[in-house]
Amino acid sequence: MVASALAQTSPETLARPSAGASLDIDNVSHAFNLDGSTLHVLDHVSFDVKPGEFVALLGPSGCGKSTLLRLIAGLEPPNAGALKVNGQTITGPDPSRVVVFQDPTLYPWRTVWRNVALGPEAQGKLKESRGRVDEAIDLVGLGQFSKAYPHQLSGGMAQRVALARALVNDPSILILDEPLGKLDSLTRLTMQSELVSLWQEKGFTAILVTHDVEEALFLSTRVIIFSNRPARIKADFEVDLPYPRHRGDPRLAELRHRSLAELGLDSTW
């Protein structure tokens, strides 16, 4: 669907120079207050992401991945350390860093079209962005659903609307928090290929949290593995394989063994 949508769209509308931004995470620690006691979630996390990289974050549930993404999005300031985009410290949310949250979080009172148009509308540039909203909806294959309401969509369709809502802002960093976690395996595989083509097409920097080791290896140029809470970086390696990748590739299998070992699951494999 993406491939065909791309073929139908004229090249000049898509060739936007939105080269990805770089991201520097420097000694970031974060904690929450839970019933009076301190819950350490991030423990001196440091890594740099080059423009246009596709980084997958893997780690046990509850270790602090979503928290790190919230810090990158600028929704909360870190307790310690600094996060920088293109060398500038993140002080708040910005539409150039868009998050696709773990839940699609569509507004039930808005149609698909108006949900996707949320970013341009909030930034006061809806008028000139109408075409791009249509384009983004077509891109995720929901053209005939623009007038539907979220309750009329399947879970996978809702997740694709959330993706379109992010893409319409032409982000320089796309932050994805398990965006495919709730999809059936078939739709999931399709969406993985779509994500890769989108990323290749637009050139943004992608940060993807996932529980699925194969997904991380299939999509990303680099994998970072976190420890149990408080999250510390346990492993950080490149996935040096050309796209399109093949799921049966023996080198992927090898990397999967390594990743599972880091996650403490080697005995089961």
Binding site: D103, T105, G141, G143, R165
Partner: protein, 337 residues
């Protein structure tokens, strides 16, 4: 391309369930209903009254006309499909209505079980409508104007109170004690004060109705604003939304379902205050009409006005739900009507 077919399949899925055209059944339920109404007409006319009651013949004729209409709808169900379906669904309720009407008829006019003139037969009510429809219509108009004025004002004030209380802690600091202290005071308790403080009885009545509406709407709106999922705000903020957008385009639409629950709850209280205020001081409207009818021992008028009230206020509530379903497209509202 084969891995893209999954999405295509999903995309062509239906958006909403398509209603299957139900076949028009020839079941005789509507004939039973027509029969029940015809029989109730016969009881009205042929069973002699214990004393003279006006409009007995007229009532019987009306009952037969209604029975005939039901028959017509049954016979022409092909042409009157929509009406037929509605009546057919309600056929047993129509039968029950005819039975209840006949019980009333027999107990009051035929056997004299219910003492007269306190419990006039149905024709007594019919007589009241025919003789007094002008005054009754005036009363309906007066009640509706007062109700809409008061509820509109109270809903607006309640919405603004609740919204600002839930949105801004600084406003909440002052409004919350006010809401806590004065909210639970029944508006009816203020009637004696209001009726001499306000310059006209209409403005006083409108104030009381507004007050009864204000509290539930304010509380529900307040709790609605406070319970908006914080991820709704996160989404908007990452997309570049500022405070104003968060309030107008996120908080308010997310709160509207709660506002309508508040309005629904408020309406009952508002109507009861309305009627009491009309009885005590407003000197117009259905409450006043009831008071007047009671004073003149016009019991047919009294029951007639009660029936009008039931229909009218049920209609107002239906209207509220109609508006809600229009406004809240895509959101499931809590209360059903």
């Amino acid at each position: 391309m084969s891995n893209h077919s999954a999405i295509e399949t999903i995309s062509t899925a239906e958006i909403s369930p398509i209603k299957r055209a139900s076949t028009l059944s020839a079941n005789p339920e509507l004939i039973y209903a027509a029969g029940a109404w015809a029989v109730s007409g016969v009881i009205t006319l042929l069973w002699p009254n214990t004393q003279e009651f006006e409009r007995t013949t007229d009532l019987a004729v009306l009952q037969w006309i209604f029975a005939a209409l039901l028959l017509v709808v049954h016979v022409f169900r092909g042409q009157l499909a929509g009406l037929f379906r509605k009546l057919h669904y309600n056929a047993w309720r129509l039968v029950a209505l005819a039975v209840l009407l006949s019980i009333w008829q027999v107990a009051s006019a035929k056997l004299g079980l219910w003492p007269q003139p306190y419990f006039p037969p149905p024709q007594g009510v019919l007589d009241a409508y025919i003789k007094d429809y002008v005054r009754l219509a005036d009363s309906i108009r007066a009640s509706l104007i007062l109700l809409f004025f008061g509820v509109g004002l109270g809903a607006l004030a309640g919405f603004l109170t609740g919204l600002s209380t839930g949105w801004s802690p600084r406003v909440g600091y002052w409004t919350i004690p006010f809401l806590r202290l004065f909210g639970p005071v029944p508006a009816t308790a203020l009637i004696p004060i209001v009726l001499f403080v306000f310059p006209t009885s209409f403005s006083g009545g409108a104030f009381l109705v507004a007050l009864a509406t204000w509290f539930p709407v304010a509380v529900l709106t307040w709790s609605g604003v406070s319970s908006v999922d914080s991820s709704y705000y996160d989404v908007a903020r990452t997309l570049g939304a500022k405070e104003r957008f968060l309030l107008l385009k996120v908080a308010i639409p997310a709160t509207l379902p709660h506002l309508f629950v508040g309005l629904f709850m408020a309406l009952g209280g508002a109507i009861s205050v309305l009627v009491v205020a009309e009885m005590l001081g407003v000197k117009a409207g259905l409450g006043f009409y009831l008071d007047w009818a009671q004073g003149w021992a016009a019991y047919g008028h009294l029951y007639g006005a009660l029936i009008v009230m039931a229909v009218l206020f049920s209609g107002v509530t239906t209207l509220l739900f109609f508006v809600r379903d229009r406004v809240l497209v895509g959101q499931s509202g809590g209360v059903q009507w």
